[in-house]
Symmetry: C2
Subunit: 298 residues, 2 copies
Amino acid sequence: MKKAPTILITGAGGFTGQHACMNFIKKGWRTVAAVRTKQHFSLNCCSVECDLTNFEAVRQMIQSVDPQYILHLAGVNSVPQSWDTPLTTMQNNVLGTLNLLEATREHAPKCNILIVGSGLEKTSQPKEPPLHPYGISKTLQRMLSESWHVLFGQHVVIAKPSNLIGPGPSNGVVSLFAKRIANEEQKNKSVELKVNNLRSQREFLDARDAVKAYELLLLKGQPGLTYEIGSGHSVSIQEIINIFQQMTSVKIKVIDQGIKENGVAKMDTANMEKIGWTPKIAFSDSLKDILHYHRSLH
Amino acid sequence: MKKAPTILITGAGGFTGQHACMNFIKKGWRTVAAVRTKQHFSLNCCSVECDLTNFEAVRQMIQSVDPQYILHLAGVNSVPQSWDTPLTTMQNNVLGTLNLLEATREHAPKCNILIVGSGLEKTSQPKEPPLHPYGISKTLQRMLSESWHVLFGQHVVIAKPSNLIGPGPSNGVVSLFAKRIANEEQKNKSVELKVNNLRSQREFLDARDAVKAYELLLLKGQPGLTYEIGSGHSVSIQEIINIFQQMTSVKIKVIDQGIKENGVAKMDTANMEKIGWTPKIAFSDSLKDILHYHRSLH
């Protein structure tokens, strides 16, 4: 019998990290969850505490885990937070990735690494100035990852997902809506949702579909390449609210602040389709599962 | 009488750093030299020890020095060293710059900062892969610096000098030749110089001319802009040897290894000329001063 491969997942305590752990545990892989603190991590797999900004800590982790695969999800992934703490954002997203690449080069040089970037980083127009510290942190993370492949031949693939949604502890707008609705259902009232702009279009993808894409990229991704991952279609905030309204008896009222938002480039999923990936989960099913998740917390 | 401005020079113990200190001391500015260790620093100005990769140390330095100007020269600036220690190279060149920008933003937000990049970083073709860890470290340093100007409005100017030469402790090829020649003059013998390629063309600029450019950029540089600094003409290794041969009675023999070298893009000094800078020191005068420096060490 072939030995199960070992995968190290960084940022395993986060929203996507937990979905990733569940996916690889289910597949029977030896799944090691790297978390900042084990305190709130409850999934049934091996976990290690590691501050990725500390090279010596990362080195020891890679040496002891000896992974064949690394899924690097850790980092600051909030635009507002990146404005509040740009230093921490850069340290986590850039230095953390550098430490991981270097420790792996030293102790697990044959390891397949997937670096998860962000659709909020615009690769199509690299000359355009960044919109926020988060954006530049993800640009530098990607360039660093590509360079380590070119310079040292490391097996590094880059994923660029759009907005991920799904059941679990997400801070995204869809999850926040569902949380508010589920809260109000306890009191049988109406709920008032304040939105930046009802007509804002965004592309959403279920995190469980994204994790399937990550799995495929770890196995079949071409080193040095960036793979955009998305559902292929955008929805407006208005449409999200319409779908939620059909799922609840709570009356949803909307306060539209009419704030102009930066248009987000649509993902080009051609590279993903080439390796056989397409999203499976319908948008309305994602919303149903998200609402169900928040109801289950009561 | 107007109070003399305060300038903080990082990497002040290095080859260019020492020339920079001498320049600003001579101008009567309050010159503070930031060095890794004071042990070998002998110039007659205020000096502070600081590990730039440690944010808290940088924060304390900026707070206590309270500079109006920062000339940021510190960092790993050797291509071979960057291959040996890519982690240290990135930490020094990228994280060190980040710490400096952040500490300045916090404690000296009106400070004019000049970040000294490198001609070995190719901005004209940003899509091309890097040739060495040093190259990518300088690319990320530049992008970070540009971003901090765009995102936070910091007064950050970027300089991109070609190969700097001049009297002093340089590890460049010109200085190494002069050192070998000066050594042999003690013994009145011939000297054998091993070169990668006699026909290699490079652009050299005297560090004293570069420092004048930095002074001008601190005073008149446009924030967010990158200024290429060079002499405007290239010379071959053969020409350098010819000039040195005329200055010494030691017979110079050359072993040409015929190694093909990457052509270095010529600097575009148009932006520098616009603010009134042109190099003043003739190439042969630089060589004379370099040889004189090495003779004086005996």
